[in-house]
Symmetry: C2
Amino acid sequence: MNRNDLIPIGTLARRTGLAVSAIRYYEERGLVRSVRTGGNQRRFLRSDIRRLSFVLIAQKLGLGLAEIEQALATLPQGRTPTVLDWQKISRALRGEIDHRIQLLTRTRHKLDECIGCGCLSLDRCALYNKEDRAGAAGPGPRFVLD
Amino acid sequence: MNRNDLIPIGTLARRTGLAVSAIRYYEERGLVRSVRTGGNQRRFLRSDIRRLSFVLIAQKLGLGLAEIEQALATLPQGRTPTVLDWQKISRALRGEIDHRIQLLTRTRHKLDECIGCGCLSLDRCALYNKEDRAGAAGPGPRFVLD
DNA sequence: GCTTGACCTGAAGTTAGCTTGAGGTTGCAT
DNA sequence: ATGCAACCTCAAGCTAACTTCAGGTCAAGC
């Protein structure tokens, strides 16, 4: 029951739908941990299937791996998390979703006003207020609704 | 009135909040056009301020430049678009927003179920159904809610 | 005991969306 | 006529999140 709870990377990949290379990358980033066999092969906890699945959901919401790492930090590493652990972290995710829905709803509202007035016109239009964007970015891909 | 409608890239940058380098990049990508002066400097139409502002809004919604290019293709290039042109394209954007809100709402619903049952458990949990993800990706950054 | 598929590491490549830098030219104001 | 900011091009760099490749090792079944 203890030995059998350790699974090789390929199994973890199959169970989560992730590529083996992606899991190795996540381990490097510190999102999962593994122990090694005598022959230097990784063995993961069965509960890491959930852990990585959580990563996938959070990614769908547009969170970066760094943020996801933060969220996961509240879970115990190396021990199977309890149901309560998962409930707590899931609620945090729900908060994120709510926030994003709000942002989108606001954007939609603004856009409606702009369609109404036919303007899409700078300076007056709430939608692309230069100030909202000031000091925006840097290189790299652009992300969604900040 | 015709001459004066042509603005240099720096002005366009200031009016949109974009970096000069970004505008040059967009031109290369075909999102805007410009004419050149005798001395090979770019001159843009005043209406390109709107055009680029539209790009910014669409980006906030998570659209890629390729998709934005498609949307913009319905606008006349090289001539100032009419109010009706803009209304049409704005409505398309509204559709996108609606779609995204729907997706998020569905995800939230699924997450609620999962919090309810405390599961976050594969195979049974609607949230991370492997099938939904199959044939996912390739390299590069991951994007939001497909 | 041998084969074959799963696994290992490290370095380099990929995509998106830009920025930065080097080295040179333009154009408006004085 | 001269200065200086704004402009030009082209190549290379950057971040995120991975994949791909080369060259080797492990382990489970026959």
